[in-house]
């Protein structure tokens, strides 16, 4: 049952993210809040729940955003895995760590996307890292601690509902 909640949770987040992006931040900057949730899942959630959530987020993103099929599923799983392995570190609750970690994850993900695009399309779009992913990484890093609190709150609500 809880995995259905996780699936719905992931789906709603992707839908909201895509809709808001289209209507509000369209053509200016794309803020990938789902990536924050993937990092949160790696750092704070259990391996199975977090892993399922991350993959579903990637899958829904690929399905609904219409990008490279399977790419986000793979990237989200990789980022989740990395987060999961470093979640043992003592500083993971520090907001500075979260901020920096989110910044480098977003930038790293951007690097991988651009690398894949270069590989497939043979296009030199490295400048996109600076134009798109750097501002995105900076903004997401700055808001990450607030979103982590929101995710914790939401996770708590979902846990209580499941228990109830």
């Amino acid at each position: 049952m809880k995995y259905i909640f996780i699936a719905i949770y992931a789906l709603v987040l992707i839908l909201l993210q895509l809709s808001f992006w289209e209507l509000i931040t369209s053509e200016i900057i794309y803020l990938e809040f789902s990536l924050l949730l993937v990092i949160y899942a790696g750092l704070r959630m259990t391996a199975v729940q977090g892993g399922v959530l991350s993959y579903l987020l990637g899958f829904f993103f690929d399905s609904l955003a219409g990008g490279v099929p399977g790419l986000h599923g793979l990237l989200y799983v990789l980022i989740f895995s990395l987060s999961l392995f470093i979640s043992r570190a003592t500083a993971i609750n520090s907001s500075t760590f979260v901020t920096l970690y989110v910044f480098f994850c977003v930038l790293g993900k951007g690097f991988l996307v651009v690398a894949y695009s270069n590989l497939v399309n043979e296009e030199a779009i490295w400048k996109d890292i600076w134009l798109i992913f750097l501002p995105q990484a900076a903004i997401l890093a700055l808001v990450s601690t607030y979103f982590f609190r929101l995710f914790t709150l939401f996770e708590g609500i979902l846990s209580r509902e499941r228990q109830g």
């Binding site: 789906l11 209507l23 509000i24 690929d62 799983v77």
Partner: protein, 279 residues
């Protein structure tokens, strides 16, 4: 849990990476094929996506309209103020325009009047009035600098207004014919009866020294006579408004209403005797 947490994590990660990598590679080699799960997801989500999008669109539109309305409200307030200001200016200009028109008409009438021979006229503006009932006089905006001197007649196209009694460089006082101190040699136009028009301090003047046996009718025009040393002959003074009989046995009591509306003077003309003219 069957596996301890570190091993579980490893297992989960291994499974997920294998799965996602497998899906990714599968899709890389078959890019045109849409997976069944993707199709199901898209179909299932479509109504929700549509609903969410339309809700968000209406929300954004409402917000933009609200912002637009705030902008309109500000613009409306600004335009209303501007409109009020422009209306005020328009009314002021219309009033001013009308004033200029009327002034032009008055000046035209003044300029068109027959100035008595051997005189020239100086058109002046009335700037204030003496407070009745103590005094009936006006102040004009020209004085000795323009040649205005005491004793000079002041007229309008309708007739005599009074005479200059005091001057300063740029201001003169005019004693109106209705003032109690005013005396003007007068003659009735029809009967050629000579008398003296004296101010009474009220609206009418008194024509004195007209014998009882002479016939004077209401409405008869009274003019300045050629006996006057101050005023040119033939200037209209007023019309007989009432003829009484009770004051004296010898003379009639004749009231004359000035031809000039002395309460509404705005521009008048000072008659200056031309140089070389005999007095």
């Amino acid at each position: 849990m069957l596996l301890p947490p570190p091993k579980l994590r490893l297992a989960v990660v291994a499974i997920l990476i294998t799965l996602s990598l497998g899906v990714f590679l599968y899709r890389v080699f078959r890019p045109l094929e849409t997976g069944i799960f993707t199709k199901v997801t898209r179909e299932a989500v479509l109504p929700v996506q549509y609903l969410l999008r339309s809700s968000l669109v209406s929300l954004v539109n409402t917000w933009e309209r609200y912002i637009f309305l705030i902008g309109r409200e500000e613009a409306n307030q600004r335009l209303t103020k501007e409109n009020a200001l422009l209306r005020e200016q328009l009314v002021r200009l219309m009033v001013q325009n009308r004033e200029y028109q009327l002034e032009a008409q008055r000046l035209h009438r003044l300029l068109a009047m027959n100035i008595p021979p051997e005189h020239r006229g100086i058109i002046v503006r009335v700037i204030s009035r003496g407070p009745p009932p103590f005094s009936r006089h006006i102040f004009i905006d020209q004085g000795s600098e323009r040649g205005v001197k005491a004793g000079m007649p002041v007229v309008t196209e309708a007739g005599l207004v009074g005479r200059i009694t005091e001057t300063s460089p740029n201001l003169s006082k005019v004693l109106l014919i209705t003032d109690r101190l005013s005396r003007v040699d007068a003659v009735t136009q029809e009967g050629r009866l000579f008398g003296i028009l004296q101010g009474t301090g009220s609206a009418d003047c008194l024509l004195k020294y007209i014998p009882r046996d002479q016939e004077v009718k209401e409405g008869d025009l009274v003019l300045t006579s050629n006996l006057s040393g101050f005023f040119p002959a033939g200037l209209a003074l007023g019309r007989v408004s009432r003829v009484g009989t009770s004051v004296s046995d010898m003379f009639k009591e004749i009231y004359v209403r000035p031809e000039v509306d002395l309460g509404r003077l705005e521009e008048v003309m000072v008659l200056v005797q031309a140089k070389g003219a005999k007095k």
